[in-house]
């Protein structure tokens, strides 16, 4: 059966692709194929046979397009052939038409102008007598219509909702939903909902099933319009599980499992947070989960869907117990897929009902150590849901270790966020929080993902202390933080957020750590500051820290002196400025150092003397010498208050037109230069004098 209906060339192509051993070989074959196809395009089949040429050229066209799809599927551009796809969609024969539409749908990008060429064709097909044409067009509508094309087909599609063929009705509702997704103006949510309610009662279960897909999506966006459907949905679900659908809907003896899942899903969305709606569904959910327990995957999928639903809707203890029991069985199964569902389901339950977590602690830890990466990730999610002040240290630890090992950006982002959240919510004490956050900063790849506000929080925490005014305890906390930072000083790679926190903390509180040699710290900081890869902001922090430490030390280590000196010519103007200032301070006014860099005073308000009282003596001396006192300019800046007094009551703009200019001298000049120049240009020269 396989290849006999294909032309020799096509057969050879497929065979070659199938047998190719390497990507290069495959590429070679495809490039060759592209050449062949391009040639075929420019040499259309000869039109000698009168009646059959149409058929055979269409056949060739169909094959051409399938080969084109191969070309694109294997990664090469086939745009030279797109026009053929558009042409073939206009064919009479349904087989050819479908291939044309298929190729268009697969190859034409949303902004490709060929899409517009299909509109006429689609409209004709949608109105065709032939059901198959209509179906092909509806499928094409979903793939090819863009927002600005919606208006052209929306009416045709809407009409098809009442077509006599169930195949058509089924596709029409999906197509209509697609149009709604693209353009709410042409088909609003209310209109669509109205149609859906009718189609839900369609006599054909497939059509009804298609409407469920759409209802599910719309319920996710807004459940309110569907709340009154609960009784209908319950009744439909009842009929399905009681085997009252035609038997060809059965899948391995389970009646329409995907329909069951969809119905349960919709019910869960409607019942969420809604007590009365939820009460209407407890019975059917219990029944569904019982009947679905058949020992095969499709059954388990239904069970899982019900478990999810039970955790989402208004809680009912009996159902929750049933769900927890099902989860138990999933988790203890040997089948990894079921374990995965168990872990996911457990995560959903414990979010609102933590008591169910206790029974599964051991199983959860086992899953965490399982070599299956997917299972591990799901277990991490579960842990996050289960977090509380008692187990937060263990859980944060696990999350951090996974963060260290992963290379996946999505996972990194996710884990970083989770760690920050649980640390802030459940930290047992300040010290733990600080050390966890610092660890987080220092994990390569993660430090960059943490928002700078976290760093600010950390520094505030260190500066303000624990809040219960226990200076000793606060200092112990700061010392611990400093110790952690000191251990990081040799780290090759540190993200800015870490460098800045480190620099600030060491500058402020390094002295608190017993046995520390401040001079050594200064040296380390100098080395750090010289690293070429760090960003400007971090370097400034580091240099400021050096300043502070120098002030605390009371001596000016040579490495620091060299650093400051070098940076007075830094590219970074702020750094330059501060280094220059520091040098000035240290050479001429060393005694000011300690007041410029007070110890542990980051929380004190900086008092600014806006009256500049220090300058008063100077001013007094000048006045005594007979200089004029300063007189501030009159307050004429604001234009909201109208001019005081009656002056300037005249409008600012000159409203009278200017006088017409006297053009006679100009004309005389022009006439002198060019005697044939007529004077009738006078009217075009002068115009109305513009005002203002």
């Amino acid at each position: 059966m396989s290849g006999s209906h294909l032309s020799r060339e096509f057969f050879a192509l497929v065979k070659a692709i199938g047998e190719s051993k390497s990507k290069q070989e495959e590429d070679r074959i495809i490039l060759g194929e592209i050449q062949t196809l391009k040639k075929a395009l420019s040499n259309p089949p000869s039109a000698d046979k009168a009646s059959t040429s149409g058929a055979s050229s269409k056949k060739k066209a169909k094959e051409f397009l399938i080969r084109l799809m191969y070309v694109e599927m294997l990664g090469h551009d086939g745009s030279f052939g797109y026009i053929k796809a558009v042409e073939l969609a206009a064919a009479q024969s349904i087989v050819h038409k479908r291939v044309g539409y298929l190729a268009c749908g697969a190859c034409l990008s949303p902004d490709h102008e060929f899409r517009f060429m299909l509109i006429n064709r689609l409209q004709r097909d949608l109105a065709s007598e032939n059901i198959l044409d209509v179906c092909a067009a509806l499928a094409a509508v979903v793939r090819l219509i863009t927002t600005d094309m919606v208006a052209t087909v929306v009416n045709d599609v809407t009409k098809l909702l009442s077509h006599q063929s169930d195949l058509v009705r089924k596709k029409a509702i999906i197509a209509l939903h697609r149009l709604h997704q693209l353009d709410q103006a042409n088909i609003s949510a209310e209109d669509l909902t109205g149609h859906l309610r009718r189609i839900l009662c369609d006599r054909d279960p497939s059509v009804m099933g298609a409407s469920l897909c759409v209802i599910e999506k719309m319920t996710i966006k807004n459940p309110a319009p569907f709340k009154d459907l609960v009784p209908s949905l319950v009744s439909i679900l009842k009929q399905v599980i009681e085997h009252r659908l035609p038997s060809d809907f059965d899948y391995h003896r389970i009646p329409a499992p995907w329909l069951q899942m969809k119905l349960v899903r919709i019910l869960s969305l409607v019942g969420k947070g809604d007590k009365s709606s939820s009460e209407g569904m407890y019975a059917i959910l219990a029944d569904t989960i019982k009947r679905a327990d058949t020992g095969i995957n499709a059954g388990f999928a239904i069970v899982y869907e019900v478990v999810k639903a039970v955790t989402i809707i208004y809680p009912n203890t009996t159902l929750l117990d049933v769900a927890a029991e099902a989860i138990s069985r999933f988790m203890s199964s040997n089948n990894h897929n079921l374990k995965y569902l168990g872990v996911t389901g457990l995560a959903m339950i414990v979010k609102d009902h933590p008591r169910y977590a206790a029974a599964h602690q051991l199983a959860v830890v086992e899953c965490l150590d399982d070599p299956d990466e997917t299972l591990q990730r799901k277990t991490l999610e579960l842990l996050f849901s289960m977090c509380n002040p008692v187990n937060v240290e263990f859980i944060a630890d696990k999350l951090l270790s996974f963060l260290k090992d992963t290379n996946d950006d999505f996972l990194r982002r996710d884990l970083t966020q989770k760690i920050v959240t649980i640390s802030e919510r459940y930290a047992p004490n300040q010290q733990w929080y600080i050390s966890t956050i610092i660890t987080l900063f220092s994990i390569p790849g993660a430090g960059e993902l943490v928002s700078p506000s976290i760093a600010q929080n950390l520094m505030s925490l260190l500066a303000e202390g624990g809040g219960d005014d226990d200076e000793e305890e606060d200092n112990a906390m700061r010392a611990a933080a400093v110790e952690t930072f000191v251990n990081l000083l040799d780290e090759p790679q540190m993200p800015p957020v870490l460098l800045q926190t480190l620099a600030w903390s060491l500058g402020e509180y390094a002295f608190l750590l017993d046995g520390i040699d401040l001079a050594e710290i200064v040296e380390n900081l100098c080395t750090l500051a010289r690293r070429p890869v760090i960003d400007d902001q971090s370097r400034r922090y580091l240099v400021t820290a050096v300043f502070k430490l120098v002030s605390q030390l009371g001596t000016y280590p040579p490495c620091a002196a060299r650093l400051v000196d070098d940076f007075t010519t830094s590219r970074d103007p702020i750094l330059q400025q501060s280094c220059n200032e520091f040098q000035a301070l240290i050479t001429s006014n060393v005694q000011l150092l300690t007041s410029v860099f007070p110890v542990d005073a980051s929380c004190e308000d900086v008092g600014a003397d806006s009256g500049l009282s220090i300058a008063q003596a100077y001013v007094d001396a000048a006045l005594a010498r007979g200089m004029n006192p300063y007189s501030p300019p009159p307050d004429g800046g604001s234009d909201s208050e109208a001019d005081e007094g009656g002056e300037a009551s005249k409008p600012v703009f000159n409203m009278t037109p200017y006088e017409r200019p006297d053009t006679k001298p100009l004309q005389a000049q022009q006439a002198a230069l060019n005697p044939s120049f007529s004077t009738s240009t006078e009217s075009s020269v002068s115009g109305e004098g513009a005002s203002g």
Binding site: S2, G18, R98, A106, M261, L375, F410
Partner: protein, 138 residues
């Protein structure tokens, strides 16, 4: 990258890839340029190949959830949105798809798909429309 408003679409793509990483069928329910598709396909097949029989059939990749199942030399792969899809339901859908292809081609094999690419697409398109599973009735 996606020029359409990406709404809630259960299925994002459906692929059939063999163990050498050659794509035999690719159906995308949202537009993706060719280069991106081939990159995605090769990354996913690599991930699937690196997993053993004992591990579960679900994998997360770049913000998609990927459900796969291997039948002889061919991997059937479906990508869904990470938001709350029923993975086992999708897995069973893949099985239903294979059963349907089996029935049509009388014990389907990779070569059948290759020689009848358009027919395989048509069958798939009867079952999935706009990323929704609309038909599983034999």
């Amino acid at each position: 990258t996606f020029l359409f408003p990406v709404d809630i679409m259960p299925l994002r793509f459906c692929l059939m890839v063999n163990k050498q990483g050659q794509t035999r069928l690719a159906s995308y329910y949202e537009w993706m340029p060719i280069a991106e598709r081939t990159a995605l396909e090769s990354e996913i097949i690599r991930k699937c190949l690196s997993r053993s029989e004992l591990q579960c059939s679900f994998v997360e990749h770049r913000g998609y959830k990927v459900i796969y199942r291997r039948y002889a030399s061919l991997f059937f792969i479906v990508g869904v949105d990470t938001v709350e899809e029923n993975e086992l339901g999708i897995l069973e859908f893949i099985h239903a798809l294979v059963e349907t292809l089996d029935k049509y081609f009388e014990s389907v094999c990779e070569l059948d798909i290759m020689f009848n690419l358009e027919k395989a697409h048509f069958i798939l398109d009867e079952m999935v429309m706009n990323g929704c599973i609309i038909e599983t009735n034999k």
